[in-house]
């Protein structure tokens, strides 16, 4: 049998580099050249270029665009797209109004990487599926139609929700999980003008088109993130379960934001937002579990019921069977930590 011609050795292909002066310039570059890509911190894109996974022929540097502010206006915290994860995580307004976001960002990567990684780049970081990264393996996300290497392969890190036969990869971001729990939206500008995309609609499920990670138009530029005020700041937790204490992607992560209330019945949950990472092609909001918990007493019993509900419809692929247990355990643990309820 003749084997498909595959390559092991990978290299960065020649590309041009240009620095965008403003958003319009960047949009123009993207519009006239379908093989152009924006580059921010470069920690994901350059990596993928070195592995031969992506080969843009023109890089448009957006680091000097003026999307580097963090502001609080009329009940909304806005963070510019080129603000680095380090700066945002340490920002006083972020810590005060949206501590969950800071916690999630600090759980990601390493300090060195966070110093380069931007808010926009983090939103768009691609999956870490090993079959996506190894260009000698089949991957529908990298090369549509070649098949999914992970489906019957080593899929320990892979999805348990919302996957398809075409792709079982997960979104690897920690930041995105917090953003989903916080009902953030993504500000973008493009050839057709500006729009805000609710974060829940920003990332996609793979379906038949795993090559598409999100709903952003190829010519659009992310300008910032908007996070509405909430009453969660006292009871938030980002729990990340991983194979080593730092610098590892999540096996499972859980973002919890609670608003607690003392009633005659005891400590009850007035409002709750829950999201999970490491389980799907997009950050996974646990709506049913939220509904169950809302107005209930904060007890471990209720947390367990919510976790069980959250797991409905989960499906594993062999190496990731453990997630069916680790995920609900982690939900319970994160709720315990956020609420301070021990029993």
């Amino acid at each position: 049998m003749q084997y498909r011609k595959l390559k092991l050795e990978v290299a960065v292909h020649n590309f041009q580099y240009t620095r965008a002066k403003n958003a319009a310039g960047a949009i123009a570059e993207l519009s006239k050249n379908p093989a152009a890509k924006l580059v921010a911190g470069g920690t994901n894109l350059i990596d993928l270029m070195k592995y031969g996974v992506m080969a843009p022929d023109r890089l448009v540097d957006i680091n000097r665009l003026s999307y580097n502010a963090i502001q609080k206006e009329s009940g909304v915290l806005s963070i510019g797209a080129t603000v680095t994860n380090s700066v945002a995580a340490a920002n006083e307004m972020v810590l005060q109004y949206q501590p969950l976001l800071s916690q999630a960002m600090l759980a990601g990567a390493s300090p060195q990487l966070r110093n380069k990684a931007t808010m926009g780049g983090n939103l768009l970081q691609r999956t870490r599926c090993p079959y996506f990264y190894d260009i000698s393996e089949p991957c529908n996300k990298r090369e549509p139609g070649t098949g999914c290497g992970a489906l019957k392969g080593y899929n320990r890190m892979h999805a348990i929700f919302g996957a398809s036969d075409a792709c079982i990869a997960v979104n690897p971001s920690d930041m995105n999980v917090a953003l989903v729990a916080l009902d953030a939206s993504v500000q973008v500008t493009g050839p057709k003008g500006k729009r805000n995309i609710p974060i829940a609609e920003f990332h996609r499920l793979p379906g038949k088109h795993p090559e598409l990670d999100n709903t952003l138009d190829r010519r659009e530029v992310i300008t910032g993130l908007l996070i509405p005020d909430n009453a969660f700041s006292k009871h938030t937790t980002y729990l990340k379960v991983r194979d080593r204490a730092s610098y590892a992607f999540a096996l499972i992560s859980v973002a919890v934001a609670l608003e607690m209330e003392e009633t005659t019945e005891g400590t009850t949950i007035k409002e709750v937002h829950l999201a999970m990472g490491g389980v799907a092609h997009k950050p996974w909001r646990l709506t049913a579990a939220e509904q169950l918990l809302k107005g209930k007493k904060a007890t471990v019993e209720n947390f367990k019921m919510a976790a069980e509900l959250a797991m409905q419809g989960a499906k594993s692929y062999g190496h990731n069977d453990f997630k069916l247990k680790l995920a609900p355990n982690s939900i319970v643990q994160a709720l315990k930590t956020a609420s301070g309820i021990k029993a």
Binding site: Y3, V10, Y133, S136, G153, V241, R244
Partner: protein, 744 residues
């Protein structure tokens, strides 16, 4: 015992690494950093199938790419002369580089692209297109146990650790009152030293070759390359001044080194070849995936009746790799009945290599977990169980130990970690959401020495230059040798320079198997002794009392030669140079193994104590405290010894909790061939550690009283962690690494 042992707090006065400043400032140049004129760059192309034949290699695009000078494959290789001389089967041979179209493992080098810059070589390599006829391959050990074979070398050494062996009665554990019968799995681990494997090859004419190379043995690489390329050994020069870790991965010549030499021949220019981090998973060995079956039998009082131990390890299709997995089982405990069986399974993988604590680290994981399991069945303290079975002499060789302070190791470590806090019943201690447990395990590694020579150049200005071909892959050999010489001569360490890592320097063994201090240190002592004798001879011309001076009493104090027996006889050191108008004295000293191995059995020992916390819901393991105690004879260089032990504990924690090279058996490719995906511990994984040394002299191995340290520090750490996790949770994980998924 008084307080002779060394603890963390005793390190302050010890001398620091002699090359520490050069290393942290970047002044130390590693192979890949060396720049030569006209240097060209080579990038390897690896196969993407695991078994089959190359049917076509299309190199045209690569050859036309900018900057590309040549593309070499089996179709146009200049050839390795040795391959033509011997007509051996490919089995039992190292991989023959570019010799034919056969593929034996995924990632095997099939071509190399040489260009004027690294980036152009990389780009060129990405353009080489290889077509294969793919054949069925096998890479999974458990699925292929039927292919297991007795290694050929076992026949040549029937008493060796790879031969089937019986002492007393086979299967005697079956008669015992209490039994443990379990299987343990050590996955493949990649060495992944910080420094990538790198080489610069440059030819001078057709018969002279210089290599700047990452190697653990400059002279061994010299000999191996001289043989491959049929050159006079003296015409091959190997330089390895700095080596950034190796852990066993640079103990032999690998295909990429042969490729660089072939490439330099082809392009008639020096060639630099640096493996990528990904290629490190395919090209330079690994600790082999090994399945072990351990059966222990003991009487109710804990006395071992019998041990049966089998080991099945991966090897490649073209070469048999073996290691001493079963050595510890045969000598560690006083057991009347032992039987061992060692098998290897040839698969479509590259050849493994010794990795820190080779064999013994794998073997001790199984044996020391099984001992722990036995302790619970007996309801006996794991330390008490080991003490009941303590072997007063080597039960395998029936020789007395040269020295053995294991009992001190158990005692010192138990005190330090607070062993009393351990609850005998597993899974009973809880601190908040964390389950708490303690574990202990033992390690041992043979202590050796071989032959070495030191050239000493003593100058009239009081400085001393010592030279040896030995490599320093990180333990601080130069520092240890400087300490030995300074102590012996009585001079300040700052006056001594130790040069190493060059095949032109005097004879030394490879840096592997924990014998550098024992071997080269002995030669340093010999050279220092010879120097003192020579100085005394010269001094005797001024004051004849020096004729009777005993070297042990002679010291070079300040600017004078002093005889501790007779203070009156001091002579000025400078005055000893006047005769013959010399500015320096050049002296050699050699040392080699004597007949000590016929009389004594030599081993170093380590005992590791771990306090582990395991999260009740997420299965996350945090090591809270680690205490290790080592009996490796006299410590000649406390700071670097401590660093070695620290590194061993960290490596052992990695082995226990996260290291695993995962192969997709459908392709034979490594799934986690990057530093992002192949996990080694980060700082946040590493706890408070206490490094203790018994620091008692071994009287028989060498003049310093030292035994080996480099390997024994990691042996036994992983089972100590596994045992602590069991004590915390009641869950016995027999398949490393112990990741959260296995504990929930």
């Amino acid at each position: 015992m008084g307080k002779k042992h060394l603890e963390n707090a005793d390190m302050a006065k010890a001398i620091s690494r002699v090359d520490g400043r050069a290393k942290v400032t970047g002044a130390a140049k590693y192979a890949a950093e060396v720049q030569l004129q006209d240097l060209t760059y080579a990038v390897l192309v690896g196969s993407t199938i695991a078994q089959g034949i190359i049917t076509k290699i299309d190199t045209q695009k690569a050859e036309w790419a900018p900057g590309v000078i040549a593309v070499i494959s089996h179709l146009n290789t200049p050839g390795v002369p040795e391959y033509k001389l011997q007509n051996q089967d490919v089995i039992q041979k190292q991989l023959r580089v570019f010799d034919d179209a056969n593929i034996y493992y995924n990632g095997q080098p099939v071509a190399v692209v040489i260009a004027d810059t690294l980036e152009r070589a990389q780009y060129g390599a990405s353009l080489v297109s290889v077509t294969y006829k793919k054949e069925q391959h096998v890479s999974n050990l458990e699925d292929n146990l039927s292919r297991a074979v007795v290694p050929k070398k076992a026949k040549a050494d029937p008493r060796g650790f790879t031969s089937d062996f019986v002492r007393g009665k086979a299967g005697a554990y079956l008669d015992a009152e209490v039994q443990v019968v379990e299987e343990y799995i050590q996955p493949s681990e990649v060495h992944h030293p910080m420094e990538l494997h790198s080489i610069i090859a440059s030819w001078e004419g057709n018969d002279k070759l210089t290599l700047v190379d990452k190697t653990q043995g400059s002279q061994q690489t010299q000999a191996s390359i001289a043989k491959s390329f049929q050159l006079k050994p003296e015409n091959v020069k190997v330089v390895a001044t700095y080596v950034g870790g190796a852990f066993g991965s640079a103990l032999r010549v690998w295909p990429h080194e042969i490729v660089a030499i072939l490439a330099a021949k082809k392009v008639q220019k020096p060639v630099k070849l640096v493996l990528s981090r990904g290629q490190m998973s395919y090209m330079v060995g690994y600790r082999p995936y090994t399945l072990q079956k351990v059966s222990l039998g003991a009487s109710k009082d804990g006395k071992l009746v019998g041990i049966s131990h089998e080991s099945y390890g991966k090897t490649s299709m073209y070469e048999e790799f073996t290691e001493n997995v079963l050595q510890m089982t045969r000598m560690m405990y006083d057991v009347p009945n032992i039987d061992t069986k060692y098998r290897i399974v040839p698969l479509n993988v590259s050849t493994p290599a010794p990795m820190r604590g080779p064999g013994e680290a794998t073997g001790s994981f199984a044996l020391e977990c099984a001992m722990d399991e036995l302790s619970y069945k007996l309801n006996m303290d794991p330390i008490a169980l080991r003490l009941v079975n303590y072997a007063g002499q080597d039960p395998d060789k029936l020789l007395p130990w040269s020295s053995n302070y294991l009992k001190d190791c158990y005692r010192l470590g138990a005190e330090k970690i607070g062993w009393n806090n351990r609850k005998a019943e597993a899974g009973t201690v809880q601190e908040g959401e964390w389950k708490v447990g303690y574990g202990v395990a033992t390690g041992t590694f043979g202590a050796f020495r071989s032959a070495a020579t030191i050239k000493a150049t003593y100058k009239a200005d009081g400085t001393l230059l010592l030279q040896s071909a030995i490599a320093d892959i990180g333990p601080g050999t130069g520092t240890a040798m400087t300490s030995i010489a300074a102590e012996n001569l009585g001079i300040d360490p700052s006056l001594i320079t130790f040069q190493l890592g060059n095949s032109s320097f005097p004879k030394a063994p490879m840096q592997g198997g924990s014998n550098s201090v024992a071997t080269v240190g002995s030669a340093v002592v010999a050279a220092c002794t010879n120097l003192k004798v020579e100085l005394a001879k010269r001094a005797a011309k001024q004051k004849q009392e020096w004729n009777n001076a005993v070297p042990a009493n002679i010291q070079l104090k300040g600017n004078e030669l002093v005889n501790s027996d007779d203070t009156a006889s001091k002579v000025k050191l400078v005055s000893l140079f006047t005769e013959g108008g010399l500015t320096e004295l050049v002296i050699e000293g050699s040392a080699a193994q004597g007949d000590e191995r016929n009389k004594y059995s030599f081993y170093s020992y380590s005992v590791h104590f771990i306090e582990a916390h395991v999260h009740e819901l997420t299965g996350v393991v945090r090591i809270k405290n680690a205490v290790s105690v080592v009996d490796c004879g006299t410590i000649v260089s406390p700071k670097t010894a401590r660093s070695q032990l620290m590194g061993g504990i960290v490596g052992g924690i990695g082995m226990a909790l996260m290291e695993e090279a995962v192969i997709d058996d459908r392709t034979g490719r490594t799934i986690n061939a990057s530093f992002g995906d192949y996990h080694v511990p980060v700082n946040a994984d590493i706890p408070q550690m206490e490094m203790l040394f018994v620091n008692e002299k071994d009287p028989y191995l060498n003049p310093m009283g030292s035994k080996g340290l480099g390997e024994v520090v990691i042996i036994g750490v992983a089972p100590a962690v596994a045992n602590a996790v069991y004590n915390a949770t009641g869950k016995r994980i027999r398949h490393l690494p112990i990741t959260p998924d296995k504990l929930i």
